[in-house]
């Protein structure tokens, strides 16, 4: 069964397409990464799933039904623009947010207790939200998203602005939710996180889908013609090698895409002795490279961006 089915949705603001003819499905119990550069249409897509914006065309099915007010209670949503009522007490706020999702009374209290304990916020229950530090407010916001035990969890840029500790905490919670059979969709423009936790991805750029599917299959499609090089020394001479199609140089680290029939061993032999090689790995391209490849390829053609 699919937890989410999006079928040919489009949304126009004035004459500008925010989302154009977008379709994808998310199987139940999986983690789905919605990728794309800033302004690609990720947030608009998510808002349409949440019925906050109504699509001009197309259909959306959430948990096999059309999204309605009842259904909103079975979905958890972390918006890109975080926010809580600053003047409310932590406990009351969670009770209110669980309440409007349909979880009330003792059950809501138990669930809130559990999560406050888990996130180490129990002592803050009677404090006002504005008294909490930024990190604590972020934790509170996660609790607000999942406290009502949603079957589908939608996270818009969940890792933005998180410190490493909270990033890890959130990642752990996401995997935990997946183990419980919940479905997670999250949007981001940071690729490392997607690579680690997504089962499937959809890459959108300029309102349209560019790439979609199972992450490992996508990578396989790109083939094992990528070299990850960890090095020290002066390496700019590599650029003149004819077997190389593309280089992404970070100074001490390099991602090299080879031409189709090039031999990685040959490149290695050329490098030995000229620079210090700490690591030479032949593998599939990183998602980052695929992303830049796909997005840059299209955006590069645009005369306005130059």
């Amino acid at each position: 069964m699919n937890a989410l089915e999006i079928e040919n949705i489009s949304k126009k603001f004035d004459s500008f397409y925010a989302v154009k003819n977008l379709s994808f499905q998310i199987p139940e119990g999986t983690v789905y990464g919605l990728l794309g550069p800033n302004g690609a249409g990720k947030t608009t897509t998510i808002r349409m799933v949440m019925n906050i914006i109504i699509p001009d065309e197309g259909n959306i099915k959430v948990l096999n039904q059309k999204m309605d007010e009842e259904m909103k209670g079975r979905v958890g949503y972390l918006p890109e623009d975080r926010g809580l009522y600053p003047k409310m007490k932590v406990g009351e706020l969670l009770l209110f947010l669980a309440g409007i999702k349909g979880m009330k009374g003792e059950k809501a209290k138990q669930e809130i207790d559990f999560w406050l304990e888990r996130f180490d916020l129990v002592d803050w229950r009677d404090k006002k939200v504005e008294e909490l530090s930024r990190g604590m407010q972020q934790k509170l916001q996660f609790i607000a998203t999942i406290v009502h035990q949603p079957e589908l969890i939608i996270l818009d840029e969940p890792f933005a602005g998180l410190d490493p500790v909270n990033t890890k905490l959130l990642k752990d919670i996401m995997l935990e939710m997946k183990e419980k059979g919940r479905t997670i969709i999250f949007s981001t423009h940071r690729m490392e996180q997607v690579e680690m936790i997504s089962d499937n991805i959809c890459l959108i750029n300029r309102a349209e889908k560019v790439l979609e599917g199972n992450l490992s299959q996508i990578k396989k499609q790109y083939g094992k013609n990528t070299v990850l090089l960890d090095y020290e020394g002066q390496a700019s001479f590599i650029k003149s090698f004819p077997e190389i199609e593309k280089i992404d140089d970070y100074g001490k680290f390099m991602e090299i895409k080879l031409k189709e029939k090039a031999d990685p061993q040959h490149l290695l032999s050329e490098l030995v002795g000229k620079i210090k090689i700490n690591k030479y790995e032949i593998r599939e391209p990183t998602l980052n490279a695929i992303f830049i490849d796909k997005v840059g390829e299209r955006n590069g053609k645009d005369p306005i961006s130059h």
Partner: protein, 424 residues
């Protein structure tokens, strides 16, 4: 419905717990009481000082009678005005200079110069450091006037007392005829209370409107709004907010009404125990005025509440809201300015039409009702028009609100807002 109830509860508790609400609720009646009681008390408590007034009576005939006329005493038995006679010397100007010095030296507080030909010319002079005390000037003026007129009459061989009887003013008793019969009315007091009610209505419409406005802006600024919208429709949030603040208003009014009841019950014995001499009577208002007050407050609240909610959704800060609120405030202020006109001719067609305009009706129809009960069809008409306008406004503002609350950044132009309304 459950979601709207949750929002209502949240809004209600959030506002009712603020210090501003508690202070305002308690301070309101105290202020009202002070507004009513202070003028009454001050007239009794503030003791005027005795004043010495120099008199240069060039006619030599007026001083004694003037002294008699101004001879009344204050509560402590002393005379209010102590008249001191200065003989007119050959050099009048010198004497006047002298008296001016005396005023500056605080020996006397003023002097009155009565020229010899005052009866013919009808002119006199009053010199003082402060000439703004109208009561004082009026009593001296009138005393002098009546003495001089008396002199003139006597000169013509007429009896001043008889003349006074001849020209005595007719007193007019005002009686209000209602269906129940004739009722003698203390128009002043009733009017004052009616005006007070209209004023309270006007103030609270502003007040609760701005609470709604602030709430919407806070939700927008703190970005919590999208979290809420993932659980309910924008319309539910807006209506929950409006009803929640309505419940706040209801609470405040109930508390005020209790104060009012207590006041009407206990104020008279209380005041008279402190100030036995005070004539203190709370004017009575017919119950129907209160009923209409409640009806028009509720209608006015929903009309303006929805507008404030829409304005809040369009802006990013209260400062930005001020500009947009100008026309809204104008809609509220205009009827307040019209009150004087309505008072003068409550049943003129102009008054009738104005009081039927939905945006003015809460204030103006209530004012008309409290002055002179208009035909029931007119009241019903304004209620129906108001209700229809409210539904229209809720529909319109709902369309603006749902887009506006998710728009951050630049304030939208009218054109953009119109575009929002067309969004699917």
């Amino acid at each position: 419905m459950g979601k709207i109830l949750s929002v209502i509860k949240r809004e209600y508790l959030q506002v009712v717990r603020t210090k501003g609400f508690i202070i305002g609720t308690l301070l309101g009646p105290v202020l009202m009481a002070l507004i009513i009681v202070i003028p009454i008390l001050s007239s009794m408590v503030v003791v005027p000082e005795q004043e010495t007034i120099g008199v240069i009576d060039s006619t030599q005939e007026i001083f004694n009678e003037l002294d008699k006329k101004l001879g009344y005493t204050m509560k402590d038995g002393r005379r209010r005005y102590l008249l001191k006679k200065y003989e007119p010397q050959a050099e009048i100007e010198e004497l006047r200079n002298d008296l001016r010095q005396k005023i500056l030296a605080k020996e006397i507080s003023a002097f009155l110069f009565i020229p010899g030909d005052v009866a013919a010319d009808g002119k006199a002079e009053y010199v003082s450091e402060h000439v703004s005390d109208f009561d004082e000037i009026k009593s001296i003026h009138e005393a002098l006037n009546s003495v001089v007129i008396g002199k003139r009459l006597k000169k013509e061989g007429l009896e001043p007392q008889k003349i006074a009887q001849y020209i005595k003013r007719v007193s007019l008793r005002t009686i209000k005829l209602t269906k129940k019969g004739e009722e003698e009315e203390d128009t002043g007091g009733t009017f004052l209370i009616s005006y007070l009610l209209v004023f309270i209505l006007y103030m609270t419409l502003f007040f609760y409107g701005s609470i709604i406005l602030r709430g919407v802006i806070e939700e927008k600024n703190s970005r919590v709004v999208e979290v809420i919208l993932s659980s309910m429709r924008p319309f539910q949030l807006m209506m929950g907010k409006i009803f929640g603040i309505a419940a706040v208003g209801f609470t405040q009014y109930v508390i005020w009404a209790l104060f009012g009841l207590a006041a009407s019950r206990y104020s008279r014995p209380l005041v008279s125990s402190f100030f036995p001499a005070a004539e203190f009577r709370l004017p009575t208002i017919p119950a129907y005025i209160f009923v209409y007050f409640v009806i028009f407050f509720i209608l006015g609240y929903f009309l303006y509440g929805t507008i404030y909610a829409a304005v809040g959704s369009m802006v990013n800060s209260e400062k930005e809201a001020q500009q947009l609120l100008m026309p809204v405030s104008l809609l509220l202020v205009v009827p307040m300015l019209m009150i004087v006109f309505i008072l003068r001719s409550p049943n003129s067609s102009f008054s009738v039409i104005l009081s039927l305009v939905p945006f003015f009706a809460p204030v103006l129809m209530l004012m008309r009702i409290s002055i002179l009960l208009p035909p029931f069809t007119q009241i019903a008409g304004s209620v129906v028009l108001l209700a229809l306008t409210i539904f229209l406004m809720i529909w319109l503002t709902g369309k603006i609100y749902r887009v506006g609350i998710l728009m951050y950044g630049k304030r939208p132009s009218i054109k953009e807002v119109v575009k929002w309304m067309k969004y699917k």
